[in-house]
Symmetry: C2
Subunit: 227 residues, 2 copies
């Protein structure tokens, strides 16, 4: 469901090139539970941003859910992501003026032609799954770090996207809550065939992963793949 | 160095009271390496914000480095924090228009009457300690999650404050980097007698803590204290 060939991202910071990702080649099958691990600054978020069409590669090719997304511009990338991908951002990226409920509902407004009644049922289902049903009307500024993270998680899962990209989704969660989130995601993969690709430092996520890729200084290490 | 008696914070969210912290009483000696642990939403950040004078208690008393800070208003609280406390925010709270170097230097401008040369040496010492010396001129938007977290850590340590409050300082760090940061903080405690108070979900921080307090639904549990 994701195929990369010599995927490369070089940032240009005031004339100094920063090779954030270099020649990453990999294949991830549909229904995988895969994790990219590696030191801080090794290129995990950069890679996820490319796969999620939030950014464009400098070199290389990228195919996502069967489509060549290498040349996708910003607007087309956003549309493609909205239709096929659930994305959990490392810094959550919630909309401050919307409530938790409205933040989770947002992708449904973009994607599905559902009645308000049906959207409500779906959003409440997800809020319940991350134990935030009584926080539905809170704004992000009224939520704890881990509560914000869970709103971001619920939002990424609400449309039932076939591919979910999760950038350090358990960083701000206690052990119990993190295990519950991992179990929820595994169940979605088992029931719906959803592919999950994580960037993580959390051993609990690494344990659950069936496929692990290691990044170091923007390069995928040779022995990547086995978990 | 920190004494709390029946410390309470009740948020008022459109008429509905939210008891984020209820009757927390504890004492933390100077030079302690203490951690507050507990589920997401249990009141850890709320407690740290009160101790750091970022917020005011609804009830109870709070003494920090020998001063009764219970009634401190916003400006006095900010001045007090600037003089005595290093604070690492759960969401980093870096200034977007400043470079990593300038973000770390900022508390020195406020507090110390040092020459630019002396400030530079101190900032570079801290950036080196968190392995970010080559990222000094980057802006936050050009840094990875864990790099931003380390800038926030360096900034909290730069003035050599006697009390450092760290809200989940290792959440976005890989294992090696996290252990290095913990070691750095322990060394500051051993060399300078700095008191460290953490809010954390990270077992690596809990292992290093000599004093552990457990929060649940805003209440400190009875058996808190021993590690
Ligand atoms: N400004 C606010 N207004 C209303 N409620 C708030 C506000 N800030 C926090 N809360 C609520 O207070 C409770 C405690 O929040 P706090 O941020 O202290 O939790 P925490 O232990 O730090 O959680 P986490 O581990 O997820 O960071 C939460 O239920 C949260 O929803
Ligand atoms: N917009 C940008 N401009 C310039 N450099 C960038 C930019 N974004 C990231 N970088 C650099 O690219 C490298 C990889 O960053 P990335 O965010 O992918 O790391 P990461 O593996 O996700 O790290 P972490 O575990 O700390 O989140 C870092 O050295 C970072 O400084
Ligand atoms: Mg990252
Ligand atoms: Mg918190």
């Amino acid at each position: 469901v994701v195929s990369a060939r010599e995927l490369t991202k070089i940032y240009d910071t005031e004339g100094v090139p920063v090779p954030a990702l270099s020649d990453a080649s990999f294949d991830i099958e549909s229904g995988s539970f895969a994790a990219f691990v590696g030191p801080s600054g090794s290129g995990k978020s950069t890679l996820l941003n490319l796969v999620g069409c939030l950014d464009r590669p400098t070199k290389g090719q990228l195919t996502v859910v069967g489509e060549d997304v290498t040349g996708l511009g910003r607007d087309d990338g956003a549309r493609f992501r909205g239709q096929h991908i659930g994305f959990i951002f490392q810094d959550f990226n919630l909309i401050p003026v919307l409530s938790a409920f409205e933040n989770v509902e947002y992708p449904l407004l973009m994607l599905r032609d559902w009645s308000a009644k049906r959207r409500r049922a779906r959003v409440e289902e997800l809020l319940k799954a991350v134990e935030l049903e009584s926080f539905a009307d809170k704004r992000p500024s009224q939520l704890s770090g881990g509560q914000k993270q869970r709103v971001a998680i619920a939002r990424a899962l609400v449309t039932g996207a076939k591919l979910v990209l999760a950038d350090e989704p358990t960083a701000n969660l206690d052990r119990e809550t993190a295990l519950r989130v991992i179990r929820l995601m595994k169940k979605m993969r088992d029931d719906l065939g959803t592919t999950f690709i994580f960037s993580t430092h959390d051993p609990k996520v690494m344990d659950a992963a069936e496929l692990i890729f290691t990044l170091e200084d923007g390069k995928l290490k040779e022995d990547g793949g086995a978990a």
